[in-house]
C-alpha cells in the first residue's frame, strides 16, 4: 500500500490484508539500512488476527520515496505524520534497533499517538564501530558483512532459519545492498549521534515491552536492561541463543512475545 506522508510516497506492507484503520493498529519500524521485509514473519499473523498492520519503509528506504531524515528525533516526528496519512489516531509502535529508538522517541514526544511500545534490540545509546561507520559512509560492501557478522547470532552464522531454505546472512546482506547509496551510512550516523535515550525513556507513559537476545552484540541485553529500568513499568523478555536479528532468527518466540504484550493491555 502506498501512502502520501508529508508529500512523499511511502510504501507500507499491510500483512496481506486490506488496511482497516478502525482496527487496533501496529506500526512496525525497521532498523538501519533495512526495510519492511525484516518483519515478514510477524506482520501476516497480526494482519490475519484482527489488527491493522503498517510495516513501513522509512523515507528513502526500500520502496518509499522522500529524503533520508537526519536524526532519530526527526524520524520520531515523522511517525505521527504516517498515522495521519493512514487515518489512525493512535497505534502500537514495534521497532527494531534504530527503529526501536525511533519508536521510543516517538512515544516520548507524542504520547497521545502511541498506545503501546515494543522495543526489540534496543539500548539507550547505539555507538557504532568507527570502521563500520567509515565503510557504510563509503558504500563499501565491507559494511554489509560487518553488519551481518555482528548483527546475527547462531542462526545467521550456522543456519537453521525457521523458514525452510532461507539463508539469513546472504538475505540480510542483500537487503542492505539493495538500498540506495548513503542509506546505511545515514542510518548508522544517526544511531551513533543519538544520546537522549534515558531522558526519553522516563517520559514514556504507555505499556512497554523490551525484547532482548542473549547473543546480541549490537545491542547487548545488559544495556537493554538499563533502558528498561528507566521506563516506568516496562516489561522485558530475553530470547536465548539468538542474535540481534531476532525477528528472523527466532521469529516464533518474537511473535509469541509480541502477541502476549499486545493482548495484555487494551489498545
Amino acid at each position: 500500500m502506498k501512502l502520501q506522508v508529508r508529500g512523499a510516497e511511502t510504501f507500507v506492507t499491510t500483512g496481506g490484508r486490506p488496511f482497516v484503520p478502525e482496527q487496533p493498529t501496529i506500526v512496525f519500524v525497521h532498523g538501519a539500512g533495512m526495510n519492511r521485509i525484516v518483519w515478514y514473519l510477524q506482520t501476516r499473523y497480526f494482519a490475519h488476527h484482527g489488527h491493522a498492520v503498517l510495516a513501513v519503509d522509512l523515507p528513502g528506504h526500500g520502496r518509499s520515496q522522500g529524503t533520508l531524515l537526519g536524526s532519530v528525533q526527526e524520524l520520531a516526528d515523522w511517525i505521527p505524520a504516517l498515522l495521519d496519512s493512514a487515518g489512525v489516531p493512535k497505534a502500537t509502535l514495534a521497532g527494531h534497533s534504530m527503529g526501536s529508538l525511533i519508536a521510543l522517541e516517538s512515544a516520548a514526544r507524542h504520547p497521545d499517538r502511541v498506545s503501546k511500545l515494543a522495543l526489540l534490540g534496543v539500548t539507550s545509546k547505539m555507538p557504532v564501530h568507527p570502521d563500520l561507520l567509515k565503510a557504510a559512509n563509503a558504500d563499501d560492501p565491507l559494511a554489509y558483512d560487518l553488519m551481518m557478522a555482528w548483527g546475527t547470532g547462531p542462526v545467521g552464522h550456522f543456519g537453521r532459519h525457521p523458514m525452510p531454505g532461507i539463508s539469513l546472512i546472504p538475505g540480510g546482506r542483500n537487503l542492505l545492498r539493495m538500498e540506495n547509496s548513503g542509506v546505511l551510512g545515514n542510518d548508522l550516523g544517526l544511531c551513533n549521534d543519538y544520546q537522549s535515550g534515558i531522558e526519553s525513556a522516563t517520559k514514556v507513559s504507555c505499556p512497554t515491552l523490551i525484547v532482548m537476545a542473549s547473543e546480541d552484540k549490537m545491542t547487548p541485553p545488559k544495556q537493554g536492561e538499563k533502558l528498561a529500568a528507566a521506563i516506568p513499568n516496562a516489561k522485558t523478555h530475553l530470547i536465548q541463543d539468538c542474535g540481534h536479528m531476532m525477528m528472523l532468527e527466532k521469529s516464533d518466540e518474537c511473535l509469541k512475545t509480541l502477541k502476549a504484550h499486545l493482548n495484555c493491555f487494551e489498545n
Binding site: 515478514y40 506482520t43 531454505g165
Partner: protein
C-alpha cells in the same frame, strides 16, 4: 577489519545445521516423516497461511532437506533455495514459477540434452517457446528477446562442448530487457564460480553431480539471488500480483528478496510435487561436506590428464577451457580462476579401417578403470560418447548448434590417482588405435 563470517569450506560442513538440540546428534538427522504435528489449530492455520515459519508436509518442506537448501544458499551467496527431486525438476519448477502460456525463453544452445528436450519438445506443448542462441555471442541473446520473453538461461560451462558463457555480459543483456538470468551451475559448483556475484539472478544445479559428488542420489536445487526487481515492468505477475491460491498473497511485496523461492515452494512444490526425499538430502549433504576438497582434486587431476591427452599420439584433438588454445580461455581465466571444471572432451584419432565414431566407440569399450555411463561429477572417472547417448535425440543441426561432433568422447575426471587414470587411458587408446588401423 575482517568480518567474522564463516568461509566457504566451513559452510560446506556446517551451513544450515547445528547439533540437534534434543539429542545432541552431530550429523544431520534424517527426518523420515511426511508430516508435522501442529501445536494447536491457530498454529496450523498460521502455517498454512504463511503467517509463521515451519513445516507442514514434506512435499513442501522437510527439516533434512531444509539443511541442504540453506547450506547451498549460503555457499552460493543466495537469499534462499528450494531443493527438488532432480536437476530437471528444478529447471521445470523455475519455469513454471516465472511464466505461463504464451511466454518465451532465450537460452544458450549449449545445454544438457535433457534441457534441450524440455525446451524444444515439451514446453511448446504448454505454450512456452524457446529460442536457442550461440553462447559465445551475448548479442544473439539480445536479438532473440521478444516482448513475451520471461527468462534468459544458460550453463556457465556448456555441455558437452565446454563453451564458456560470459555471465556478466549476458546478465547485462537480460537486465537491460528487464529479465532475470538463470544459470545452471552444475558443472562449476560455487567452489569454482558464484554466478550470483557475476550478475545471475537465479542459479540451479543438478546436485546429483559434483555437489553431491558420489553418484548415489538424485537431486536438484534453485537458489535465489534476491536482487532482481520483479515489479519493475509488470512481466512477472506470479510474483507481484495477488495469488488467489494463497489468500491473495503478493509474494514480492510480502517477502521481497525471498519472493521467488517462497512462490516456488508455495506453488510448484505444492502443486507439482517434485520433492527431494530426506534420505537423498542426507546423502547429498554428506557429499557437500567435502565439496572444496573434492573440487581441488577434480581440478588437479584434470590438469594432469590434459597434459597426457595433449601429448598422446592416438588423440586427434582435446578441448578444455583451461587450455590456451580454447576459444574461451581468456574468459574462463577471468570467471573461473580456480579452474574451468573437470569435464574434458576429446576425439580419438581415426584410422584406415575406422572413422572417428568407431575409434571413439573402441576407446569406450576398452577402458577398465573409467566407467562408461550417463552421468558426470561422480567421485569416479566416467566416460561417454554423447552422440550416441546423452544427446542422441538431437538432429544434426541441433547437434552442431550444441557444439557436438560424432567422434567426441566426454570424460568426467574423478578423484582416483591421476597416474592410474592416465594408465587406463593409455591402454584404451592403444586398443582403439589397433581396432581402427591407426596404430603405427
Amino acid at each position: 577489519m575482517d568480518p567474522k563470517l564463516y568461509k566457504f569450506d566451513t559452510l560446506s560442513l556446517h551451513g544450515g545445521q547445528r547439533p540437534d538440540a534434543e539429542t545432541g546428534a552431530r550429523a544431520v538427522p534424517i527426518y523420515q516423516t511426511t508430516s508435522y504435528v501442529f501445536q494447536d489449530s491457530d498454529h496450523a492455520a498460521a502455517l498454512f497461511n504463511l503467517e509463521q515459519a515451519g513445516h507442514i508436509y514434506s512435499r513442501i518442506s522437510n527439516p533434512t532437506v531444509a539443511v541442504l537448501e540453506e547450506r547451498i544458499a549460503a555457499l552460493e551467496g543466495g537469499t534462499g533455495a528450494v531443493a527438488t527431486a532432480s536437476g530437471q525438476s528444478a529447471l521445470f519448477a523455475t519455469i513454471m514459477t516465472l511464466m505461463g502460456q504464451g511466454n518465451h525463453i532465450v537460452s544458450s544452445a549449449s545445454l544438457y540434452g535433457g534441457s534441450v528436450n524440455l525446451f524444444q519438445h515439451t514446453l511448446p506443448r504448454f505454450g512456452i517457446e524457446t529460442t536457442f542462441v550461440n553462447p559465445r555471442k551475448p548479442e544473439e541473446f539480445r536479438k532473440a528477446i521478444r516482448p513475451e520473453t520471461r527468462l534468459v538461461y544458460g550453463e556457465i560451462i556448456g555441455n558437452p562442448g565446454l563453451e564458456i558463457l560470459d555471465v556478466p555480459a549476458v546478465a547485462k543483456v537480460a537486465h537491460e530487457a528487464g529479465l532475470p538470468l538463470l544459470i545452471d551451475a552444475t558443472f562449476n559448483t560455487p567452489y569454482l564460480c558464484r554466478a550470483l556475484e557475476l550478475g545471475a539472478d537465479l542459479v540451479s544445479h543438478s546436485v546429483t553431480k559434483w555437489m553431491g559428488g558420489h553418484g548415489v542420489a538424485l537431486g536438484g536445487v534453485v537458489v535465489e539471488g534476491g536482487c532482481f526487481d520483479w515489479e519493475a515492468n509488470g512481466k512477472f505477475p506470479t510474483l507481484t500480483e495477488p495469488y488467489a491460491g494463497y489468500h491473495g498473497i503478493n509474494f514480492f511485496e510480502e517477502f521481497g528478496p525471498h519472493a521467488f523461492s517462497m512462490r516456488m515452494r508455495s506453488e510448484a512444490m505444492r502443486d507439482f510435487g517434485p520433492a527431494m526425499s530426506p534420505q537423498n538430502a542426507f546423502y547429498l549433504l554428506q557429499g557437500l561436506e567435502t565439496l572444496p576438497l573434492r573440487m581441488e582434486r577434480h581440478i588437479s587431476n584434470t590438469k594432469k590428464l590434459l597434459e597426457f591427452l595433449q601429448s598422446s599420439e592416438e588423440v586427434a584433438w582435446v578441448t578444455h577451457p583451461d587450455l590456451p588454445d580454447h576459444p574461451d580461455h581468456q574468459l574462463a581465466s577471468r570467471i573461473l580462476p580456480k579452474g574451468a571444471g573437470s569435464i574434458i572432451v576429446f576425439g580419438v584419432k581415426a584410422g584406415s579401417s575406422g572413422g572417428g565414431r568407431e575409434a571413439g566407440a573402441a576407446f569406450i569399450n576398452s577402458v577398465q578403470l573409467a566407467s562408461h555411463l550417463a552421468n558426470v561429477g561422480d567421485a569416479k572417472t566416467l566416460v561417454i560418447h554423447p552422440a550416441s547417448t546423452t544427446h542422441a535425440q538431437m538432429d544434426s543441426k541441433t547437434m552442431k548448434q550444441a557444439g557436438l561432433t560424432e567422434d567426441m568422447i566426454r570424460i568426467s575426471v574423478g578423484l582416483e590417482d591421476a597416474n592410474d587414470i592416465i594408465d587406463d587411458f593409455k591402454q584404451a587408446l592403444r586398443k582403439a588405435a589397433k581396432a581402427t588401423g591407426a596404430a603405427k
